[in-house]
Every structure is written in structure tokens, then in C-alpha cells.
Point group: C2
């Protein structure tokens, strides 16, 4: 099943492969495995692209994300964002 | 049903009330309504507390969040984090 393209004709399927480096903290499904990492499942690709570029430029800093983002190309960022944006999420408010 | 307390004995029910100011961007259920805002449903309270304090201190900046966080007390931050952490989320990976 072809995944919907994200912003800028990104390739979510390529993003799925590139996301292997993210799984330790952000989980296979984008639900964070560690308390200092955010869930990124179903996150809007524009938000993700903005944050990854902020980590890459230094506008936003984090000891791990700054290092990871340093080597990401614009295409990597668009593909990763398209992949995580393609994950469906459902929220249930407590009664 | 009493909500589970978050970190630091926070009051998720009080956080639910305080979250009214967040709903325009982050949605009633923590699923963002605008592409520049992140989903915060089910987010780990430690992550949320860290981000809100970063916006309050200026370590992290955003035209809207910096203004909102400026007036939040530590108790407000803990309550808001406990509320959003109490929202259940489920992620479904595309085949």
C-alpha cells in the first residue's frame, strides 16, 4: 500500500527506513520509549520538519537531537516527517 | 474517576481546567488543530514539564509558547503535564 506523500513530495516509505535510527528513543511506532523524548506518531509533518531543521541549525538544542539532526539532509527530514505523519493516532480523554 | 497523579503530586484534574487556554492549538484531546503545534496527548509528563520550563526560561523559544509559559507557575506546569499525560493514545503503523 503506497503511503501518502508528505509535504514537498517526501517519501514516507524511505522515511520508514531512515527512522530506524530514531526507534530507540521514539519507539517503532513513534510512541516514545524514554521520558525525555516526545511521542512523534501522527505528528504533523510541518511541525516535525520545523523541529528537525531547528535542531540542525541550532535554533533548538538537545544533547542527542542536535547530533542526529546535524547530518540530516532536507530530503531525509522530509522523508522522516512524512513517515511519522503517516502513523495513525487516536487519543482518548479520561472521563 | 480520580486521575492518576503525575510527577511531583500534580493534579491532573486541575490541569484539565488550566488546559482550556491550550485547546485552540493543541485541541481538546491534545491532538493539535494547527500544523505548527505538536500533539501533546499522552505525552510523558517529564517531557512536557521540561519543554514548558524551557519556554518559560527562554531556553526554547516560540512566538506563542514563550508568552504563554511566561506566566505559568511550577504548579501550573505540573498540573498541565499530568493532565496531558493522562490522555490515552494509540498509534497504528501503516502496513
Amino acid at each position: 500500500m503506497a503511503l501518502p506523500d508528505g509535504a514537498f513530495g517526501a517519501d514516507a516509505q524511505a522515511g520508514r527506513q531512515k527512522a530506524r535510527q530514531c526507534q530507540t528513543c521514539h519507539g517503532i511506532d513513534g510512541i516514545a520509549r524514554i521520558p525525555i523524548a516526545p511521542h512523534i506518531a501522527g505528528e504533523n509533518d510541518i511541525y516535525l520538519i520545523t523541529q528537525l531543521k531547528a535542531f540542525r541549525s541550532g535554533k533548538r538544542t538537545h544533547e542527542i537531537m542536535s547530533v542526529i539532526a546535524e547530518n540530516l539532509s532536507d530530503e531525509d527530514i522530509a522523508d522522516l516527517a512524512a513517515w511519522y505523519a503517516s502513523i495513525e493516532i487516536k487519543a482518548t480523554i479520561p472521563e
